[in-house]
Symmetry: none
Subunit: 206 residues, 4 copies
DNA sequence: AATGAATGAGCCTTCATTCAT
DNA sequence: CATGAATGAAGGCTCATTCAT
């Protein structure tokens, strides 16, 4: 066919894109390899040339997600290394909230959320490669802010939950639980509001 | 057996308990009706006397969840109607965080989180019966706090995300994404820390 | 259907009969569970109620074969315990040759011959439960004959090969390698001839 | 590779060697063309340059087997044309038994045994080109022995079964059904014992 | 109400074979 | 000749659901 031997090295990524799309629609268990193949413009058998099983597609997807998402966050923090911690955290929170307002971006994290219980390996991968790194990142930022006197002392696990939690909630409320009859304010408003609240919460009191 | 003679009208609830347990372990798609039946001490066929299909079990489960969870939260808020908003919200946040630290309690919400994407009806039910009521509850509390001068003006959707988010994150980090090698601080510490941070964030500034 | 719940305890044996028929026609690998089911008058799924996998059907078949075949041989030898060894062996050889002239009887042994290489467990089962017991049987008979002075001293493994071999050859030449253009003499002639030759071979020389 | 430049006309034979090895291990149906190709040092596609299908490989293999095996036997008999029939048959039987004690030699005949039922064409080929010629060979030898007065009159089909059978049994007992815990006597002993027994059986009686 | 044998649709996976390069 | 990506048909097995008892 037209596709035959055309950019064969791009195939795995194309398949993963298709898999993510299908998984997001019907869940991992409900996804048919044939549908993934069709969406990638391949035959069922061809998919198995690149991935040994449906489950390995899921794992590869999570790995790719980790590379991308955390990479972006870490880059953002590094590029703000000179700025004060408060400003950096505000940038981070608004950036994440804006990103997660895009259903295409949130598709992969939502998939992980949905399948992690069922697949402990996925959970472990995400825990180590995404949550763990996020915790490190926030922890360092926290330390910097405390040293600068702009943050109050706060436990890292509390920090993680208080920063990532609103992102998580926003992600779910923007997609799965979005109410067509009661649309939420635009992303910028939400993102700004969350950042304000969290940062105010972190500020020390006399 | 002994079960049969005793409380035949309790059968549906027993089946739902069994279903929740199995769904939580292997997900809705991975759950076998036969396993649910076995855990409820029944045969496969008997389950179909009470529930027409596996999917209807899931829906019934979510309905039951909504009744219980939001009921508890609303009751808590009502019983604190006299107290100041700050104290009430602190009670609510710590109560929820403590509750969700118990994997048995969080099993149902986690199930919803995992399956909502796949089943729009479930998502709608949860959105209306749980999230919607939670939003109302927080909104009223917010209004009260603003009127009392203890809360700054804050958007309801930001409030929802900022309060429910940390609970959500805590729930997932206590179960699916718990790291056996890096145990988190005890629930009281986490719950108190989150409440502190959120309430401090809500406090007005000069 | 008509078959539903009728003699459910006969089902495994019925399925094995069907499996043997299909395996014999197209080999184990070529056999479709659906065909076996159809021949047993069942649906594909019903077969899996009784056998976990196609391979376990094969094993059960071999076990059943062992029970039947060797049982018959041992019974024959026991019932001739009083007779002299020569006569007993003659009876055994002609009985076996006659039996194996019937393609229905030889179907199972031929199946084992065909699949043993592929399934070491099958080979081991057959080796221990059929060949091993046959070797014992022949060995004892041999000893008796030697004690009676009607047999020359002969190694047990030579004995096994010299007695079982012609049976084996006869079995294959009567079925798979039968030449429609050159039909062999009737079973009695063959059976008698083989017995004569083997027994004459066993007779001591001055 | 080195293989490519060297002896390109030997490719078919190399492929057949590889095919025999793989077929022997996992059976015809279980053999993957890719594995055969790999063992022959070729790619999957290249194999199809030489053989149109997997089944044709099997047929070619059987044809090659017939050429080799029967050729050897016929040659052995011819070179003993002057000797007496008894001695010739003894040579033939011990030679065959010794040969078949080698699993590499017996691989092809065992393969035929396993697959003949499934592939009537294979069976017919083997019947005509191997069994038929063996029957001829033994028949002539028989006639010579009878004429020389060293053999009793015996039916050709009985002769075939009584001579080939022990070989067959020995072949299977040396490989597929070999018992690692009860090793058989060395090949010479077995071969000699079988020849003794058969030849004694053929000897006329007063 | 309860049982559990039976059904049948469905899906993952394998692999012989093809063919563009 | 050789490669290996791609195809597509095929089949083992699972399981929600039904229903005779």
């Amino acid at each position: 066919m037209a596709r035959r031997a055309r950019r064969p090295e791009a195939r795995p990524d194309e398949i993963l894109d298709a898999a993510l799309a299908v998984f997001s629609e019907v869940g991992f268990a409900g996804a048919r390899v044939e549908d993934i193949a069709a969406r990638a413009g391949l035959s069922k058998g061809a998919v198995y040339v690149y991935f040994e099983s449906k489950e390995l597609m899921l794992k590869a997807l999570v790995r790719r997600l980790a590379d991308r998402v955390v990479g972006a966050a870490e880059m953002l923090v590094q590029s703000n290394a000179q700025a004060d911690a408060e400003q950096t955290l505000r940038s981070l929170l608004t950036f994440m909230a804006m990103q997660l307002s895009n259903p295409k971006v949130s598709a992969a994290p939502r998939l992980v959320l949905a399948e992690a219980q069922r697949f402990p390996e996925i959970a472990a991968l995400y825990r180590d490669d995404v949550i763990g790194r996020a915790r490190q990142l926030l922890g360092k930022l926290c330390d910097r802010g405390i040293a600068q006197g702009v943050f109050r002392a706060v436990d890292r696990d509390v920090m993680l939950r208080s920063c990532a939690g609103p992102m998580l909630a926003h992600m779910m409320l923007s997609t799965v639980f979005a109410d067509p009859k009661n649309p939420a304010p635009p992303p910028e408003v939400i993102a700004g509001g969350i950042a304000d609240l969290v940062l105010n919460g972190l500020r020390p009191r006399p």
